[in-house]
């Protein structure tokens, strides 16, 4: 058969959904307590622990903007308000 009927696992990475959004989360590394709430609630699953510690000794989180759709759940749910949603610049290159 010439045409493959199946898809490769995880290949959706080729679709950069980051260009959907009009706002994006900015994480304040110093405020972050590494509770992982943003990691759990992100629908895209692109928040992750950086493995680096802030001044308070907590491992802080960051997000992969290539896929972030700007829903704002992370900012809403962060217990220490370390995340703010910033407006996406017009015609910005990601």
């Amino acid at each position: 058969m010439k045409y493959k009927l199946t898809c490769q696992p995880g290949s959706s990475l080729q679709q950069l959904t980051g260009n959907w959004r009009n706002q994006y989360p900015e994480i304040d590394h110093e405020k972050c307590i590494g509770c992982q709430k943003c990691i759990w609630v992100c629908p895209e699953g692109i928040c992750f622990l950086t493995g680096r510690k802030n001044k308070a000794g907590k491992i802080f989180a960051e997000k992969d903007l290539a896929y972030c759709k700007g829903c704002g759940i992370c900012a809403r749910e962060c217990p220490v308000k370390a995340i703010t949603m910033a407006k996406e610049a017009k015609n910005s290159n990601k």
Binding site: Q8, P9, S12, L13, T17, D64, L65
Partner: protein, 295 residues
Amino acid sequence: MKYQSTFPHLYNPGHSACAGCGEAIAIRHLLTALGPNTIMTNATGCSEVTTTQYPLSAYKIPWLHSLFENAAPVASGVLAALKQKGLTKVQVVAVGGDGATYDIGLGFISALWERQENILYVCYDNEAYMNTGYQSSGATPLGAFTTTTPPGKNSEGNNLIKKDMIGLALAHRVPYIATATSAYPLDIQAKAKKSLEIVGPKYLQILTPCVPGWGYDPALTVELSKLAVQSGLYPLLEIINGQFTKVQKIKPVPVTEYLKPQKRFAHLFKDEAGQQVIAKLQQIADENIKKYNLV
């Protein structure tokens, strides 16, 4: 500075679920709990269409979509084949939305339960046929706007009560039954993991808010599903062999707090007839609180 994820989950981004999609949260945590030694069958619906647009796929486990109604029997066939191959440790999971579960696929699920097969069935419940444009399903709550139950001069939205799938599962003597929601992802993981300890059919129903279908600001997904639970309208339970092993206790909030942020209930706040529906919904919530000892 640009940060890049290592994409450690079994469900990759790049899928086209809406921003703020409750089901995307649920499915990822479900897969984390199940692990890579899993085969998943999936009904037609949001969880299939947003994730597997040829030639791309978000799933990193072996996954099959056949039709709208048959995720359950396809899973039965997968299980039987694995048994013949001696691969009894591979987990078989069937996933369907509320449309596939409550309506078109219900008979098939009943038979899977009757056959007592060792399969986990997960229903992600966004309370309507959201993928095709928010038409009503058997899971649509009373009073909700859907495109087939639009409110108007002669209607206050859906005039039918949400089907009781938990009751149906109990009647089938399903050994593991649980409800969960996107707001508590670790609870989803715990329940999925717990279900796998039981040999036999398992049913996990997850309330997954839908941004366009329910009509709300995408940032509120987690908050809204919390309110669904706190109002008593969506009790979070775990029932093992007919015994209630987990009941999420709540400090009840009036159902109006849950209904108000959602456009699909906005019409209920406009007139007396709508108020009567809200009262009926409050009654349903109060009955749940009593029935399941939620306080």
